[in-house]
Symmetry: C2
Subunit: 205 residues, 2 copies
Amino acid sequence: MSHPHPPTRTKLLDAALAEIRTNGYSATTIDHLCARAGVTKGAFFHHFKSKEALGIAAATYWSDVTSPMFAQSAYHSLPDPRARIMAYLDLREALLAGEIAEFSCLAGTLLQEVHASSPTITAAAYAAITTHAETLEPDFAAAIAEHLPPDCPTAASLALHCQTVLQGAFILAKGTGNAAIAQDSLNHLRRYLTLLFPLPEEPKS
Amino acid sequence: MSHPHPPTRTKLLDAALAEIRTNGYSATTIDHLCARAGVTKGAFFHHFKSKEALGIAAATYWSDVTSPMFAQSAYHSLPDPRARIMAYLDLREALLAGEIAEFSCLAGTLLQEVHASSPTITAAAYAAITTHAETLEPDFAAAIAEHLPPDCPTAASLALHCQTVLQGAFILAKGTGNAAIAQDSLNHLRRYLTLLFPLPEEPKS
DNA sequence: GCCAACATACCAACCAGTTGGTATGTTGGC
DNA sequence: GCCAACATACCAACTGGTTGGTATGTTGGC
């Protein structure tokens, strides 16, 4: 669990995120990975026993890298849980910048490709998504408690639905080459949640 | 545009759909494809000049195979456009059966992998999605015309959002190994559209 | 007898993974 | 405080199998 030697292993994991998000897992070769990371293949197989082990480590690393970005965000201090959820979606929209490989989800890309061939990578990638979704559950639970809509879905289901929309948005964005279509679906998600938990009024400033 | 020799070419395209939906495009090899189709590699390269050409043909074939399934469905005859949209989602949910490779979307799988490496496959796969989405636009347009909600999104945007949710649902289903999580997101989509275009009452039977 | 539709045989490049090695610590007995 | 024994981190070169693609048949209908 301890990785006392950050540089080479981290360089390989960073290269893996970039390569897999751009070209996918299958099309990512260890040679390209090492070239991008600036190390040799011997170094790779010193740190990872196989390509599959790298896939698992990349999914875990993806969680480790992205989680603090959301955990440290200021929106958690908003008093209204519905406002916290909207602020989360605002943050997700703000992250839709740059090239597609820079904002798309590594875990979703992995799931798409390895679901039938590697149960271990599948489990690690799915865990990355559900672990992130679970950070939204308290806010949804609070919104339900404060403003229970009729036939209310569970907090867990709502949190996962947000991830579903985001994953789908990334795919459509890959079709157009830009994030506009993803923003569009995020607006639909916002509208859904606003209809489900109507905000009493627009807070000013 | 004319394919006067159905059997071998069709066998290869059917094999391509199955292989790509299971293992993805990159992990699909021409040798495996030919073995599954029961033909030799010479036959493959007689019909497709490259693997990329097969990818493009597979996306087009995917449209050709799936379009009639929706076009021939009975839900188009329902009088209420909102009921037609709900019936479309019911049909999509009914299709969530069997193995994941049997209900997931070829176009989404292709987009995920080739968006950065093959503009031609990307365009063909995206066209398959948008062409299908366009078949929903008349119903959304009618729903908007009959029941314009405040700050109404466009029919085209709503039709694409349905595809976004479906694509995301397929990815999450690949994480769990079954369709339950996809059905959950379809229910959220139904709830969104119901809130947006509230049905006056439950029609009986 | 010609051509589309296949089949067979083959290739150069590439792939994940291995091997044998070096350089640089680290540790524990004395 | 020194050194043998060991561990870690990394590298260059290689291997056996696979890959997309090609070159060269063969065959059957018109």
